[in-house]
């Protein structure tokens, strides 16, 4: 039987066609896909096939990537790959884009990298970022910790949960003394317009510029043009758009630095990323169960009770820190049940609120119900963390500081919380 990639001659009652056999799309099993010499793929109905004849077997025409001569005088940067759009390629089986580039292929694509740094590169995992779990954060943190000799580390990462990983690594890599930049791409690197190259090269230039920066930070497009990249605060950044290049925005904060056409400008010199770090400690996540629940209208107690047995639960609270726990009429009887469920939950689970408005700070003293929630033991008063950072932080605290969770949830550890709400930090 001819295999995908083979040259075949296909006969139907109407025509004879020659071309390269392509894998069948999973959702159209009755279709044979042929790549014609013109480059076009066409689907032919299998039912109409009289014969499929092998013309020649074609081995993988992949050009071997030449090992590149590295410049010894340049700083060493380690690139750790985790897959995602920045390193993705066509998958014929699904007809979709999947993470498939080898690290070498990525370097082959961006030769300029060789003029900025000596590059070491390895594949840590090849995965969709939505499949990340705490052990992956630990694995990444351990791989980073091995790179003491490097000027900095770049982690290529799928964008969907890049902001979770940024926060997770910021917590796990306590006082890391080199830059660890997370880089993704909103347009896959299999197209000319990909933002992968600029994000990656900007990260490399930022590291090579030796600014004194240490710690974890995403490096992504600042605008929809290919001009600026931002170095973003790891615990105060969120993916705010499904598809735009400039999807990653600082929340309740500003960018830390800018790389414009290769030129680095520090925008927030006062951040802890530029002060002398303390002793480095790798503080990984433990096997803790933490959930993330969004408060909404017409909620049911069973939604809350689904988290029974969890170590922690972050609730995206409405407004200044509310949840539907008030029985005010016959229609809100369920809310009394939610209140009971919450009390039950609080007996063994840490429950912390974070703002579902994304921007702004909770204030659970303003309304009576929220005061009662605080009295019941719900955390989150004055929290201005994104829900994702709150989730990561709670899991990390439960892993590393189980006795001090209540105290430390409200304390700034990695720049994730601020006491002052700066006026110009909305919709940046």
């Amino acid at each position: 039987m001819p295999e995908p990639g083979d040259r075949v001659r296909v006969r139907t009652p109407k025509e004879t066609v020659e071309g390269l056999l392509m894998p069948t799309p999973e959702y159209q099993a009755d279709i044979l896909v042929l790549k014609l010499d013109s480059g076009y793929n066409v689907g032919i109905d299998r039912k109409t096939l009289s014969s499929v004849e092998l013309v020649s077997s074609q081995r993988d025409a992949h050009a071997a990537t030449r090992p590149r001569e590295q410049k010894k005088n340049l700083p060493l940067i380690t690139v750790l790959h985790t897959g995602g759009t920045i390193a993705s390629k066509v998958d014929y089986k699904t007809g979709g884009v999947v993470a498939r580039f080898s690290p070498e292929e990525l370097l082959g694509l961006f030769p300029e990298l060789g003029d900025i740094a000596q590059v070491r590169s390895r594949l840590v995992r090849n995965m969709w970022s939505e499949d990340m779990r705490f052990p992956h954060y630990n694995l990444l943190a351990e791989e980073v910790a091995k790179e003491a000799r490097a000027r900095g580390v770049i982690i290529t990462h799928g964008t969907d949960t890049l902001h979770y990983s940024a926060a997770a690594l910021a917590f796990a890599l306590e006082n890391i003394n080199i830059p660890v930049l997370l880089v993704g791409a909103q347009r896959s690197s299999d197209r000319g317009s990909s933002d992968a190259g600029m994000n990656l090269l900007s990260a490399a230039r930022f590291i090579a510029a030796n600014t004194g920066f240490h710690g974890v930070a995403p490096c992504m497009h600042a605008s929809r043009s290919d001009d600026d990249c931002w170095i973003l605060p790891p615990c105060r950044t969120r993916k705010m758009h499904t598809s735009r290049r400039d999807a990653f925005r600082p929340v309740n904060a500003g960018p830390l630095a800018r790389v414009r056409h290769g030129e680095v400008t520090i925008l927030d010199r006062s951040s802890h990323h530029f002060s002398q770090p303390g002793p480095f400690r790798l503080r990984p996540f433990q096997d803790v169960k933490v959930g993330l629940l969004k408060a909404h209208t017409n909620m049911f107690a069973s939604e809350w009770l689904a988290y029974k047995g969890f170590h922690g639960l972050v609730v995206e609270a409405t407004g200044l820190g509310q949840a539907p726990v008030n029985e005010i009429d016959a229609e809100t009887k369920e809310h009394a049940k939610i209140r009971t469920a919450l009390k039950e939950l609080l007996a063994e689970t840490v429950v912390a609120f974070a703002p579902q408005t994304i921007y702004g700070r909770l204030n659970m003293d303003v309304y009576q119900p929220a005061r009662e929630l605080q009295d019941l033991g719900v955390l989150g008063h004055l929290c201005d963390m994104t829900p994702e950072t709150a989730f990561i932080k709670l899991a990390w605290l439960l892993s590393n500081e189980p006795k001090r969770v209540r105290e430390l949830y409200a304390k700034d550890l990695r720049g994730e919380l601020r006491e002052r709400s700066e006026p110009e930090r909305f919709l940046v």
Partner: protein
């Protein structure tokens, strides 16, 4: 410089008997929403409210190869400025959002046209990405899909095979080319195009013209073809024996096709002659000759050297006399080299067969020849610009010179107004195509192939001519309003066909002739008027007056032309008679018609005036 020099010699008329192979590619814009988003297909050149600057890099195709055309484009290192509009372009055109599913309306038209050409539709349509890194597509590729194959077009000159019909998205329109940056307008990007490619069956320039005309007619018969300049484009594929397949883009005028075919055949033959004369020729290595020319008065040299650039020259062994050989009227081998150099952002190049000239003196030429070690039969080429750019341009020109020794290079060329052509980019290979994985492939169902086929415009004209004068029927069918004419006939059968046709075809011309205004009325405007006439709200005569107002930029104020009731009419006419007690009937009629044109029936006015004045 080689790029600008022109001569007056007429080309010898080439003999095509049995040697020419020519195919056409027709690209027709469709009047639907865009192919992969819901933006309107409206072409704009007004002030954009969004500007985005981007870069593109060549990326590997599915077989791992980087396309040669893509690599050439990347060597230019340009950035691209995109103009967009917040009300008619969206994140899809800006390459900030994945494409939406392929527009079914446009696909329906493509399938119809394929059936009209007797083609076999593919069972499953696979959208492909065709790598295009000249910046004309924000994504770095053009989305295209093969819809049907193997059709035939019958012409008076013989049958022409139609191997493929594709549906694809149009590219952004170039606004300006700068040395470091090209500016594009995104309003055109994503407009659906039907691409019909003929086989290399066209054997004469005249046949090329007929095929283009027939395909154009077929496309317009669907009633969904966009109209106006640039909405249909013809590319030519021309080759002669021992020559190469050359794709010529951008022939806007059908009349230019025969000439283009002729001129391309001529160019290929001349290049083959030149190749024969260059068998022992070879290019040397580029040398920095800035010091040789440091006192030059040539503007180009001065501009480069004074701004810190360099002058590079290269000895061309055995090229003397060949660089100046004409390939097309006013275009020499040197021009071909210059075309390749210009793609890299320089203004052009000098070659030894055109020097001394352009401010470069006899002495400087001699000094250059000496510095380069040129012997009697050697020539040289010279480029002055920023050093890096000059180096890239020199490499490109030398690459073309190397090809000149053996072959006609396979290229995509741009049609010039005089039917000569200039180099655009190398002919892209099949490795420029890879699947568009962001959209699912489409199964072609029997239902999609069951819609009735549109009537050909030629048959339509015959049918219309039964109700209309032949001339009016012809103008209507070949103009853009016939779908509205047919709609109006169904919706308002009580309206006279001649009235509707004249309103659509003759009224705009009449308004231009009488008032000097261009009527910019939409189908909806006309429909409003027809509806008002059919309901008796306004008189037929009022339609023209209202269109005149519209042409003057006023809104269509139907109310101001609404017909008077008989009672009102009597009152108004009595007033006219009273105000003009001594006027004869003819004069009264004139006054009344001036005041009441379009608001009452002329016959009734005449009858009432007779009654009141008598």
């Amino acid at each position: 410089m080689a790029s600008t020099r022109a001569t007056k010699t007429a080309p010898p008329r080439p003999d095509f008997s049995g040697s020419l192979r020519c195919g056409l590619e027709i690209h027709q814009q469709l009047d639907t929403e865009k192919l992969f988003c819901s933006c309107p297909s409206s072409l704009r050149d007004d002030q954009p409210d969004i500007l985005v600057e981007r870069e593109l890099r060549a990326s590997a195709g599915e077989e791992g190869g980087v396309d040669i055309a893509a690599a050439a484009e990347q060597a230019k290192r340009k950035s691209y400025l995109y103009q967009a509009y917040s009300d008619t372009t969206c994140l899809v055109e800006l390459d900030e959002e994945p494409p939406h599913p392929l527009n079914r309306d446009a696909l329906g038209v493509a399938l119809q046209v394929s059936r009209m050409l007797g083609m076999v539709p593919v069972a499953s349509i696979q959208v492909m990405r065709k790598t295009v890194v000249d910046g004309s597509n924000t994504s770095g590729f053009q989305r295209t899909a093969l819809v049907a194959r193997n059709g035939v077009l019958k012409t008076a000159h013989g049958d022409v095979t139609i191997p493929t019909l594709c549906i694809e998205e149009d590219a952004a329109k170039i606004v300006a080319r700068e040395a470091q940056r090209d500016v594009y307008n995104l309003s055109r990007l994503g407009i659906p195009l039907i691409e019909i490619a003929t086989g290399p069956d066209i054997t004469s320039p005249e046949m090329a013209r007929e095929v283009a005309l027939q395909l154009g007619m077929l496309l317009r018969s669907t009633g969904r073809a966009k109209r106006g300049l640039g909405t249909i484009r013809q590319d030519l594929n021309v080759s002669i024996p021992q020559g190469a397949r050359i794709e010529i883009k951008g022939a806007q005028e059908l009349d230019l096709l025969p000439k283009l075919v002729e001129m391309e055949a001529l160019r290929q033959r001349n290049l083959l002659d030149i190749a024969a004369g260059l068998r022992d020729a070879k290019a040397g290595k580029p040398v920095d000759v800035s010091s040789v020319l440091k006192k030059s008065a040539s503007k180009v040299i001065r501009a480069a050297l004074d701004s810190g650039g360099a002058a590079l020259a290269c000895r061309m062994e055995g090229f003397a006399g060949m660089l100046g050989k004409e390939v097309q009227p006013g275009r020499r081998l040197g021009t071909e080299l210059a075309d390749h150099a210009k793609v890299m952002g320089v203004k052009g190049l000098f070659h030894s067969d055109e020097l001394p000239a352009y401010g470069i003196t006899v002495e400087e030429v001699a000094a250059l020849r000496k510095a380069l070690g040129c012997k009697e039969h050697d020539g040289f080429i010279l480029i002055a610009d920023a050093k890096e750019r000059a180096e890239r341009a020199m490499a490109a020109a030398l690459g073309r010179a190397e090809q000149a020794r053996s072959e006609v290079p396979r290229e995509v060329r741009k049609a010039n107004e005089d039917a000569t052509t200039s180099f655009l980019r190398p002919m892209p290979g099949s490795s420029r195509m890879y699947p568009e994985t962001d959209v699912r492939s489409i199964r072609v169902t029997a239902e999609m192939l069951s819609s009735p086929l549109p009537e050909l415009l030629s048959s339509k004209e015959e049918r219309f001519a039964k109700q209309l004068p032949r001339d009016l029927a012809h103008q209507l069918v070949w103009g853009e309003r016939w779908p509205l004419y047919e709609r109006a006939a169904r919706r308002w059968p009580e309206l006279k066909p001649v009235f509707v046709a004249e309103t659509l075809v003759s009224a705009p011309k009449e308004i231009r002739k009488r008032h000097g205004f261009d009527l910019d009325a939409s189908d909806a405007d006309f429909e409003l008027l027809f509806d008002a006439v059919s309901h008796g709200t306004i008189a037929q005569e009022a339609v023209f007056e209202l269109l005149v107002q519209k042409a003057q930029g006023k809104p269509l104020d139907i109310a101001s032309f609404s017909l008077l009731s008989d009672k009102e009419l009597q009152l108004r006419l009595r007033a006219i008679v009273a105000a003009n007690p001594k006027a004869p009937l003819n004069a009264l009629m004139g006054i009344a018609m001036k005041e009441l044109r379009g608001k009452a029936d002329g016959k009734r006015i005449a009858a009432l005036l007779q009654e009141f004045s008598g």
